[in-house]
């Protein structure tokens, strides 16, 4: 998916309720190159209205090997973001929003790329 996004000069930013430390671990573990943002106080999540109250989630495991967790931590109830994708054009205008009403399912590559093509292929 990265080449298609790069073709249209779309950069990716991902935000979650994780703390800076958890985000850094996640980024290192999965070898991510996109910008990951930490919003542990849920300020941005609430600003955008994508808050999911008190759901059972899994934290990063505390059992570490070389700074990388060996598995997920125990389940606990916490407030987190509803999986949501927003596509923003160069003028800062939101051109597409995709939100999961079933958190198990994510935006598919096809849907995201379709939105990118629709939004940007005519002008670029």
């Amino acid at each position: 998916m990265r080449p298609a996004l790069a073709k249209h000069a779309v950069s990716v930013i991902a935000l979650s309720k994780d703390t800076v430390d958890e985000v850094a671990i996640h980024k290192q573990r999965d070898g991510l190159t996109l910008t990951l943002l930490a919003d542990p106080e849920l300020e941005v999540i609430r600003q955008y209205g994508v808050e999911h109250h008190k759901v059972l989630g899994f934290s990063t495991g505390s059992l570490m090997l070389g700074g990388i967790p060996l598995g997920p931590g125990g389940p606990s109830f916490k407030t987190m973001a509803i999986p949501t994708s927003l596509l923003v054009d160069e003028d800062g205008r939101i051109v597409w929003i995709d939100q999961a009403d079933d958190y198990r399912l994510r935006s598919s590559n096809g849907r995201v790329l379709g939105a990118v093509e629709t939004a940007f292929s005519s002008e670029s």
Partner: protein, 133 residues
């Protein structure tokens, strides 16, 4: 007899769990995991049947049967409960298509301050996600 049934029940429940969890990293979780649900219910039913059969046996309840069956029922119930929690409360969304992206600041994974001012003139895919685990 009951020992075999309770063991089979536990294997069915746990292997269904394992198969489902293995689909998550690949993003191939089915929208309607009917097969997983049927197998979990089957495993839980077998577990209960094993306990009942064992309870009325002449030797009385065996610890292994009780342990296997209890684990199978609890794990099966946990799977079904998690599945029941899958819906997210959409509808509180405070932004819409055509809006200007509301500005915010946040901290990056490097500890640096990120501001949406940096996005001026750039196309961005902004993802809210549930966090790493």
């Amino acid at each position: 007899m009951a020992g075999g049934i309770s063991g089979a029940a536990l294997v069915i429940v746990l292997s269904t769990w394992a198969r489902y969890l293995s689909l998550i990293p690949r993003g191939r979780v089915p929208a309607r995991p009917l097969g997983s649900v049927i197998l979990q219910v089957l495993g839980m039913t077998l577990a209960v049947a094993a306990i009942l059969e064992n309870y009325w046996s002449v030797d009385g309840p065996a610890a292994g049967v009780v342990a296997n069956s209890t684990t199978a029922v609890l794990m099966g119930a946990f799977f079904l409960w998690l599945l029941a929690q899958r819906k997210t409360p959409v509808g509180d969304l405070k932004v819409g298509v055509g809006d200007i992206l509301p500005g915010f600041t946040a901290t990056t994974s490097d500890g640096a301050i990120f501001s949406t001012d940096e996005l001026d003139g750039k196309r961005v895919l902004l993802k809210f996600f549930r966090g790493g685990w």
